[in-house]
Symmetry: C2
Subunit: 264 residues, 2 copies
C-alpha cells in the first residue's frame, strides 16, 4: 500500500463518521499541507459514492489550521445522489473544532474523448534538468518533500528572481504510486506558492479556499504543473494552477484564495 | 427598495432557517438563474455574520435545477466564527429537496489599498456602442433581462461568429440599484455562456459548481465583465470570468464548471 493511501486512510466511527490521523510527514513547516488534509476528507467522501466515480469538482474552505501528528474525525453526508453525479459534504475536525469544510461533486471520468477545447502543456526541461523544491530556498521546513518529489523549472526555482509570479515544474509521489484523480487533487496544492518566484521567501501562505476541477484520469508518470498569481491585493492572492499528465493531457484546473502574511 | 433586494428577501422560519420565493423574473428559459439562487442563499448567510462583512469566497454546488415561481427554504449555519473571517454553510431547498449547497467565507473588504498585482480591464466600446444581450440570439427566453441590463461587445454578440469562446460586456441592474459585493456575485453568472460566441446558440448551460472571489467593493455605475472558456471536454466546460467596476478596478474573479448538453 502506498504511503499516500495509508496516511489518508480512515476507520469508520459510526454512521457518516470516520477517524484518522494527520501524519506529520505531509507538513509545510509545522502545519499539515492543505492538499493532504483535503485528501483525508476525500477518503470519507469517496466511501459514499459509487466505486467508479472520481472527484470532478472539489471545494475546500480552510477554517483553521490543522494539527499535525494528531487524530482527526471526518463527517460526511450525501447531498445529491444521482446516476451520473453525486455531491457530498464533509467536515474535518480536530479537538472538536472544524478545520476544513468541503463540498465535492463526483462522477465517472471514464475513457476520455478528445477535448474540444483544451489548454496545452508548456514546454519545460525534463525532470532531471529541473531543480528539486527546497525548504531552504522557500524559507520554511518542508517535511512533505519526503512524500512528494517536486522538481521546478530552473527559472522559477530561485526566490524572487524570476520577475513573474509563476511556478512551473514536475510532481510525483516518492513511493512510486502512480497518479489518479485523487492524487491530482493532492498535487493541486503541492508546489511552492507561485508568488514565491516574484517576492522571494515568504514562508507559509495559508489557503483560505481551494477549488479543484479534475478533467481526466492521468496517465502514469510525472505530472506537470503550472501556477500563476495575477491578483494580489489586501493581503489575499488568487492563484490559478493547471496540471497535465505525462502524455501532455490536461488533468486538472485549480484556483485558490490564500493569505499572504508578509506581502513583499 | 430595489427589485434585487426585494426578490432575494427572506423571512425567518426558525433557528438558522428562512423562507423565500424564487421569482420567475430571474429565469433563463424556465429555470431560475444560478447567480440569483446563490443570491437568495447569501441573504441568509449574511444574517449570520457581522454587518460590515462582505462575501469574499463563495462556492455553490448546484445539485438540481431550481423551481421557478415557487417557495424555497434556506438553512444556514456558521462553521467558523472569527474576528476577521467567518465561514458559513447554507442549503437552498424546494419541495424538501436540496437544490444548492453553498460554503462562503465573509470578511471586511473595507477601504481598498492599491493592488500589488492585478489584472487590468480590457478596453471595449462604451455601453451605448455595445449590443444588448438577447434571448433570440442565444436561442432561449431570457426573462432575467427585465432585471439585468447586459450589453455585449459587438464582436462577441453574434452566436458562433467570433472564432473564440469569449464574451466581454457591461452589466448593471435595470432598476438603478448600484453594485455592491452581493451584486458582484449575481453579475458573475449574468452573461451568456462564453462558449456561445464560439459554438452558436446552445440553449441552457447549467452550472454544476461556481466559485466567486470578491476582491473589492465596486464603485457605482456599470460593471465590465470578461468570460473565457479554454477547456471543454467530455460535455463539461470550465469558464473563467473577471469583473471590473466603472473605475477599472478588479472587483471579482469567478470560475464555473458547467454542463454542455449539445456541444457543437
Amino acid at each position: 500500500m502506498s504511503q499516500f493511501d495509508e496516511e489518508t486512510g480512515l476507520l469508520p466511527l459510526g454512521d457518516e463518521q470516520w477517524s484518522g490521523h494527520v501524519h506529520p510527514s505531509w507538513n509545510i513547516g509545522t502545519n499539515p499541507n492543505g492538499g493532504y488534509l483535503l485528501s483525508l476528507v476525500l477518503t470519507a467522501l469517496g466511501r459514499l459514492v459509487p466505486e467508479h466515480h472520481d472527484p470532478l469538482a472539489i471545494t475546500a474552505h480552510y477554517l483553521r489550521p490543522g494539527c499535525s501528528d494528531a487524530p482527526c474525525t471526518v463527517e460526511a453526508r450525501v447531498v445529491r445522489s444521482g446516476r451520473n453525479l453525486n455531491s457530498v459534504r464533509g467536515t474535518l475536525s480536530q479537538d472538536n473544532t472544524a478545520r476544513l469544510a468541503v463540498i465535492a461533486t463526483f462522477g465517472a471520468l471514464g475513457e476520455p474523448a478528445p477535448a474540444q477545447l483544451t489548454i496545452p502543456a508548456p514546454s519545460i526541461p525534463p525532470p532531471e534538468q529541473c531543480v528539486g523544491r527546497s525548504g531552504q530556498a522557500q524559507g520554511i521546513d518542508l517535511p512533505i518533500l519526503d512524500r512528494l518529489e517536486v522538481r521546478l523549472h530552473p527559472d522559477d526555482a530561485k526566490a524572487g528572481a524570476s520577475g513573474h509570479a509563476r511556478i512551473t515544474g514536475w510532481v510525483r509521489l516518492r513511493d512510486g504510486r502512480e497518479p489518479d484523480s485523487r492524487a491530482a487533487v493532492l498535487f493541486a496544492d503541492a508546489f511552492p506558492p507561485s508568488i514565491f518566484s516574484l517576492l522571494g521567501p515568504i514562508g507559509w501562505v495559508p489557503t483560505l479556499e481551494m477549488t479543484v476541477h479534475v478533467r481526466r484520469r492521468p496517465s502514469p508518470g510525472w505530472m506537470l504543473g503550472q501556477f500563476d498569481t495575477r491578483d494580489l491585493a489586501n493581503g489575499h492572492l488568487v492563484e490559478d494552477g493547471l496540471l497535465w499528465d505525462a502524455a501532455g493531457e490536461l488533468v486538472a484546473q485549480v484556483r485558490q484564495l490564500a493569505l499572504v502574511r508578509a506581502p513583499g
